[in-house]
């Protein structure tokens, strides 16, 4: 007798994907909780855009920041810059002030952290979820003071290209943050 055996098939439960939680510059509230990690993708289509978002802390908080560019499509040489403006940071030099776009607003009590993204050798990051290579400005820990900090991102030479801005280390998907991942997976996932 030769016939199929009937057996149950075990269905595996999908493993969670840990990493920066995705959000969007189009979101009504871009960062809902600044105490864990996020990634925000963006694209310079005219080169003149200035992207910004805010982080509000009740107490001083230190966390790493980096800006990455995907290498696909000749985008690997793209070098967008960013600045963090807020309490607890050093006052900007004239050189830094000259590098900032006009949109950047610096309050009387604010300081800045400026990432020129001009290192000769930048870190190449392989993102295995979607099998992409990204070049990083370098992950830099910045100690922010209590209050509101604003991050501004721009393309210094009005170059066109895509980027991902990432910050934070703690992961938190407790309130169902996967919705955004799967609805727009290829935009995020690192």
């Amino acid at each position: 007798m030769r016939r199929l055996w009937i057996a149950g098939v075990v269905i595996g439960v999908a493993a969670p994907a840990w990493g920066h939680r995705p959000t969007s510059f189009d979101a009504e509230e871009i960062v809902t909780d600044p105490t864990f990690s996020w990634t925000i993708p963006g694209k310079f289509e005219s080169g003149t855009e200035v992207f910004s978002f805010t982080l509000d802390y009740e107490a001083p908080f230190a966390l790493p920041f980096e800006i990455l560019v995907p290498t696909a499509g000749g985008n690997g040489d793209f070098r967008p810059q960013y600045v963090i403006v807020g309490p607890g940071l050093p006052k900007p030099s004239d050189e830094v002030l000259a590098a900032l776009p006009d949109d950047v607003e610096i309050g009387a009590d604010d300081g800045v952290f400026f990432e020129a993204n001009d290192d000769d050798d930048r870190f190449l990051f392989f993102e295995g979820v979607m099998r992409r290579a990204l070049v990083s400005s370098g992950s830099t820990a910045v100690a922010l003071g209590a209050g509101t900090s604003t991050i501004w991102i721009w393309s210094p030479n009005e170059d066109l290209g895509e980027f991902m801005f990432g910050f934070g280390v703690e992961e938190n998907f407790e309130d169902g943050g996967f919705g955004g991942v799967f609805s727009n997976w290829s935009d995020f996932a690192y």
Binding site: V9, V10, T71, G128
Partner: protein, 190 residues
């Protein structure tokens, strides 16, 4: 000193391997010991040379495979081994070995749909970076058509889930995605 933390591997790997075994047992035709251990029998073997397109982390190449029917040379239960190299714009994907099972549902018919699953060693040679090794679980949805007494052509769709990273620190839990589409030409009965 290098360490291997087997406990760090995702439990989903164990679940999926158990699933694989269950599927195999479900479809395997019982056979006598003599039949299973017979000497070289060309009718038990097939060789396919598919062109593969990886649509996650775009790459194109050849991914040859060998099929062995351990129980019934005319049956649909196959043990599969494959190796291949796919070249892309951001990386070259080298798969030194994939091992799995494939069940063709109507092996005596001209059109043979099939299902399969197994494990695949993936090495991502990212341009400008080092090799990244990973163990993926793959699934297969296949359909082959007999075009000659000894030849089939077929289309294979193979989703992949990265489970285990392999690095200098040993094995570690990871997560990744993949999707391979293969256009296959297969010779049966070597």
């Amino acid at each position: 000193m290098k360490t291997v933390d087997l406990g760090a591997c995702s439990p989903i790997g164990v679940i999926l391997l158990t699933s694989l075994m269950a599927v195999g047992l479900a479809f395997a035709s019982p056979a006598s010991a003599d039949e299973a251990v017979s000497t070289w029998d060309a009718s038990r073997w097939s060789v396919g040379v598919p062109v593969e397109v990886d649509v996650v982390g775009f790459a194109v190449g050849l991914h040859p495979e060998v099929l062995y029917r351990p129980f019934n040379p005319d049956g649909g239960f196959n043990v599969r081994a494959a190796a291949g190299t796919m070249v892309g714009t951001e990386l070259t994907l080298i798969s030194p070995l994939a091992l799995g099972l494939r069940q063709e549902l109507f092996p005596t018919k001209r059109v043979q749909p099939g299902l399969g699953m197994g494990m695949q060693w993936q090495s991502f040679a990212v341009y400008g970076d080092s090799l990244h090794h990973r163990m993926d679980m793959y699934m297969e949805l296949t359909v082959h058509t007999q075009v000659h007494d000894d030849y089939d052509v077929g289309l294979q769709l193979s989703p992949e889930i990265g489970l285990i990273g392999v690095g200098e620190e040993g094995l570690y839990s990871t997560f990744g995605l993949g999707m391979a589409v293969r256009l296959n030409v297969q010779r049966n009965s070597l």
